[in-house]
């Protein structure tokens, strides 16, 4: 019994330690951000590999999620003869929840793992130690541009995901199922609020972008410099990012809506 309690206590301590270390790392990244902004080229190179390379995945997932929403929403609303509310259903679920959350989880899987393994491998092959020898701060040169690229890319990816998802819902609802096009859009224009729904979704995407990218670069930077250590760090990135995003989503929803 005592052993179990002690185990649980150690898990709590480990969690707190990781949270604290993440917080310190974030402060360090933010302090170095102004210097990194002086060299935007490094950031944009990373925007390519973090954001632009995720584009196809995000667009295809967004299209399918929008189409599924349209189909499921149509079938359910049809029971109450309320299919004209389909547009509101699709747009609200995408803007408020599905867009930011699904994009963040996909982003962690597509771009976060790449960041972790890249930085982890740099550590394992002693490139980071080499930079320190040359008096180049590896955090400033390697980590901060990647972090900023992730933070810039996430809201843009979410916006693209939302736009494509709405298009998918529209295609299924209006073109396939025959919901009236005017009812679809007029319901959307009447119900979806610019500040409450759209901007709070954008805010969510920014927060998730910070969280997912921070976890990815943190795990990479502090990975054990072995093959096994890098692979473990990559796994932890996906698991921790998904959990962090879902937990943050609950908190943000509770505050905002």
């Amino acid at each position: 019994m005592m052993g179990l309690l002690r185990e649980a206590w150690y898990i709590v301590l480990d969690f707190l330690e990781m949270l604290g270390a993440c917080g310190f790392f974030l402060v360090k990244l933010l302090r170095l951000t102004p210097q990194a902004l002086m060299r935007p080229r490094l950031i944009f190179q990373q925007v390519f590999s973090v954001g632009a390379m995720s584009l196809v995945l995000i667009m295809v997932s967004g299209l399918f999620i929008g189409m599924v929403l349209g189909l499921q929403g149509y079938n359910t609303l049809n029971k109450f003869a309320a299919t004209s509310a389909l547009g509101t259903l699709v747009v609200l679920s995408l803007l408020r929840e599905l867009g930011p959350v699904v994009t963040a989880v996909l982003f962690a899987g597509r771009a976060g793992t790449a960041l972790t393994s890249e930085i982890g491998l740099m550590r394992a092959t002693e490139q980071i130690a080499g930079m320190e020898m040359m008096a180049v701060d590896p955090v400033r040169r390697v980590v901060v541009p990647r972090f900023l690229a992730g933070v810039i890319s996430m809201p843009l990816l979410v916006a693209i995901f939302n736009a494509i998802g709405i298009l998918g819902g529209y295609l299924v609802g209006v073109a396939l199922m025959g919901v009236d096009i005017g009812a679809f859009w007029s319901q959307v224009h009447g119900t979806v609020d610019l500040y409450d729904d759209f901007l709070s979704g954008v805010l969510k995407s920014v927060v998730f972008g910070i969280a997912a990218t921070l976890i990815a670069v943190f795990e990479g930077y502090y990975a054990q410099p072995t093959a096994e250590g890098v692979s473990r760090a990559t796994t932890r990135t996906v698991v921790n990012s998904a959990l962090a995003v879902l937990a943050l989503d609950y908190l943000l929803t509770a505050f905002m809506f």
Binding site: F44, Q45, V47, F48, G51, A52, L55, V91, L95, S153, P155, L156, L157, A159, I160, N162, A163, I164, I166, W185, V188, H189, G190, T191, V192, D193, L194, D197, F198, V202
Partner: protein
């Protein structure tokens, strides 16, 4: 050299696509138009009961949206609800004995304000007050009345 150029083009394309998507979603899939109509004039109306009327509900005349509800508050003396309506600037010639009633779109829909024009020669202007108002129909009261009248007869 060729390769970095391709990378730059794709990155630029990605960033532009992201902002275009933001813009399209914000303008096409939200009520952004309800925030744009500001060059009008506002009038007030007091109601004994506004039911479920909300800020930014439409104000209509013969079914055409002519404005929005911008503020709802309670008058501490009379305990009536004071509703401020922002009327679009293109509709200047609304008679000042117009009646404002709170109506419901459909049986369970959103509530909105319907204006039915009177015959006065003077028009509503900034700050004027609509005197003839009709409160919201509260379904529970209606049912209550119906039940009690049924018992009496």
């Amino acid at each position: 050299m060729k390769q970095t150029r391709t990378i730059e083009i794709v990155t630029g394309f990605f960033i532009i696509l992201g902002f275009v998507a933001l813009y399209i979603v914000a303008t096409r899939a939200t009520n952004i138009r309800a925030y744009g109509e500001s060059s009008g004039y506002s009038v007030t109306a007091s109601f004994a009961n506004i039911g479920g009327l909300k800020v930014r509900a439409p104000v209509t005349m013969s079914g055409v949206t002519v404005g929005r509800v911008t503020e709802i508050r309670l008058d501490p003396q009379s305990f009536n609800a004071i509703v401020t309506l922002e009327i679009n600037g293109t509709y200047r010639g609304i008679p000042d004995d117009t009646t404002a009633s709170i109506l419901t779109a459909g049986l369970l829909g959103e509530q909105y304000i319907g204006l039915s024009p009177g015959g006065s020669e003077t028009f509503l202007k900034q700050g004027s007050r609509i005197t003839y108002t009709q409160s919201a129909l509260v379904l529970e009261n209606l049912i209550g009345k119906f039940l009690s009248s049924g018992k009496g007869s």
